[in-house]
């Protein structure tokens, strides 16, 4: 009877194949189709792939997606560690509250939140008004809004809770006595972090990094509404090719190229993080 437990994988796998792999397979097929008079014609044409191969714009945007995914990962990790570690020090009752506090911002609609950021960061916005009122600056800081800085900031904001959660879960599993042992053996808090906590939380960091990377690299609303003239993204281009330009083959090819690139970078990232001794020690025990 116990044998049956593993058969539960079948419906799940079927759902993923139907809902996820099949559409992606269709993308592959479409990328070889041709468009004639607004009609998608089955064919075996390399037109889209050829166009993609020589398009510096497309590859630039794919690179940009990777870069913004990576930078969001790095920033959320740097900010996420102190927050996650502070959370582990809370009393159990506080943790329940903390998780609610952490997740609530995710409930708010993306669009409304984006416009709230405009009010915060705008030329006549909260931050500029405050800084001018304090006499720190004379002219409003224009780079706060509609710049790569804005994209970085808001992508970090949007993804910070995921990173914190992942590291937090991992950090809770680190035996507190190991940290005490490190301190006892002469490690300052910062030594204890780099020599014990960090190595032992790399699985959490890896999980968080994958999440944040995938989410940030695929974002299009935040860059387009807050990034100003630097807000174009590969995702928006796919959307544009699909909807506006009616060039499904190229849209499919670009989407697949983006996907493949993200997969490669993500696996490289995971591989790198999981090569740490700590990750092996933690995973080995499980």
């Amino acid at each position: 009877m116990m044998v049956r437990q593993r058969h539960l994988a079948l419906p799940v796998a079927a759902a993923i194949v139907a809902g996820c792999l099949a559409p992606l397979a269709v993308l592959v097929a479409f990328s070889f189709y041709e468009v004639e008079d607004f009609d998608l014609v089955p064919a075996f044409s390399f037109r889209a792939w050829g166009e993609l191969a020589v398009s510096s714009t497309d590859w630039f945007l794919i690179g940009k997606a990777v870069l913004s995914g990576l930078s969001a990962t790095v920033f959320t990790a740097i900010l996420g560690y102190p927050v996650a570690l502070a959370l582990t020090r809370l009393a159990t009752s506080g943790k329940g509250l903390a998780i609610i506090v952490l997740l609530t911002p995710l409930y708010t609609g993306e669009i409304v939140r984006i416009y709230a950021w405009r009010i915060v960061l705008g030329g006549e916005g909260l931050v500029n008004t405050l800084l001018q009122g304090l006499g720190v600056i004379d002219e409003p800081l224009k780079f706060l809004l509609f710049s790569p800085f804005t994209i970085g900031l808001v992508l970090t904001y949007n993804n910070l809770p995921y990173m914190v959660l992942a590291i937090w879960v991992s950090a809770e599993m680190v035996d507190r006595r190991l940290i005490e042992a490190a301190r006892d053996l002469g490690a300052r808090p910062v030594d204890a972090f780099f020599r014990v906590i960090f190595p032992l939380t790399t699985p959490g960091l890896a999980a968080g990094s994958l999440t944040v990377f995938a989410l940030a690299a695929g974002e299009m609303l935040t860059p387009s509404l807050l990034g100003g003239t630097s807000g174009s993204t590969a995702m928006a281009l796919v959307d544009n090719l699909f909807g506006t330009a009616f060039d499904w083959p190229l849209a499919s090819a670009l989407a697949l190229a983006l996907l493949a690139t993200l997969f490669l970078v993500a696996s490289a990232m995971a591989g790198l993080l999981l090569r740490f001794k700590g990750a092996r020690a933690v995973m080995g025990r499980v």
Partner: protein, 358 residues
């Protein structure tokens, strides 16, 4: 056993005065004074929850006392973080770093200091001291419990601390391994000449290892003395009850004469050495340890009763006999059947009349 040096005779290493530690509303340590002399092997003994581990953690610097003062080598410890205290700890679960090899675990504190030239040599030496030199390349999860324990000890002595704290280091090991390691630990302490503060709830272990035993109860020190004194003259009924397998019989002091007193109990009036300060009329407790009861004696038997329970323990049996409603325990070479009538002789001069614990 040899007569030990009085604690006060060695120079003082650690002094704790009026230490209080509370967690929320519960008081873990309730105003204790404790001195640890140089080169002493001091054991904190008590049931779980008595505050012994908290004392250890305060010495290590993981907890900050709410009140009181601690001095190590006459320097206040108040603002010294754990990493700057010349104190190392062997943790109950060993707390070996799972991502580091045995060598790296042991070398941890030396590497942190930087500029230590002979790390490899010293690691080797520390591992030699615990007979683990051949395991340097292994990871903790590849070691047995006893081996992990040895590595933990090696790791905490390599930096030559002034004081080594051991938090129930042998509790997770089987009986035989525990016996081995007790002997090794004691030998190691003598060889290194560092003071050990050892936490355990196992009185046999405490007696086997310690120069000084500190029995704790509910955050306070119930008694602090050498093992023999603790055993023979427990300061109060708590210590008496916690140590050994004694029968405690409540009664009232009839008469006090020098070191001895006569106590009236359910078993009758018995004269025995008594705790200082007990006077006629005080409620007190007579402590009867199993080995003071014998089934053969001269003259009239002290008590007569019948066997109510018998536990076979191999070389001897532990018998419980009911005497005037009081269960008395004693050892016998052969098992007894339940219901057998027995006559018992008490060596009253070696029993003890002690205070009733608060």
């Amino acid at each position: 056993m040899e007569k030990r040096t009085e604690p006060a005779a060695s120079p003082l290493l650690l002094a704790m005065r009026g230490i209080v530690k509370t967690f929320g509303r519960s008081v873990a340590v309730d105003g204790i004074d404790l001195d640890v002399p140089e080169r002493a092997f001091l054991t904190l003994l008590g049931p779980s929850g008595c505050g012994k581990t908290t004392v250890l953690r305060m010495i290590a610097g993981f907890e900050t006392p709410n009140a009181g003062e601690m001095r190590l080598d006459n320097t206040p410890l108040a603002d010294v973080p754990p990493e700057r205290r010349p104190v190392n700890t062997v943790f109950q679960s060993y707390a070996l770093f799972p991502h580091l090899t045995v060598n790296d675990n042991v070398a941890f504190s030396l590497k942190l200091r930087g500029g230590v030239a002979d790390i490899a040599v010293r690691v080797r030496r520390a591992l030699d001291a615990v007979h683990m030199a051949d395991f340097g390349q292994r990871y903790p999860h590849q070691l047995s419990g006893g081996q992990q324990q040895r590595v933990a000890v090696a790791r905490s002595i390599i930096a030559e601390p002034r004081l080594l704290l051991l938090d129930e280091p042998l509790s997770a090991l089987d009986r035989k391994m525990r016996g081995h390691l007790q002997i090794e630990l004691k030998a190691l302490q003598r060889r290194l000449g560092i003071a050990f503060v050892y936490v355990t709830h196992d009185q046999e272990e405490a007696f086997a290892l310690s120069d000084i035993v500190v029995v704790m109860n509910k955050g306070r020190i119930a008694q602090k003395a050498d093992p023999q004194t603790i055993y023979n003259r427990p300061a109060d009924s708590f210590v008496a009850d916690f140590i050994g397998n004694s029968t405690l019989v409540e009664g009232r002091v009839l008469e006090r004469r020098g070191d001895a007193a006569t106590i009236e109990t359910a078993l009758g009036a018995i004269t025995a050495p008594a705790a200082e300060g007990l006077a006629a009329g005080d409620a007190a407790m007579l402590v009867i340890r199993p080995e003071l009861l014998s089934t053969r004696g001269e003259g009239e038997a002290t008590f007569t009763g019948s066997v109510s329970n018998c536990v076979f323990q191999g070389e001897r049996s532990m018998i419980q006999a009911e005497v005037a409603g009081v269960p008395l325990r004693f050892a016998a070479e052969t098992p007894y059947a339940v219901g057998t009538p027995v006559a018992l002789w008490l060596d009253a001069s070696r029993s003890f009349i002690t205070r009733i614990a608060a």
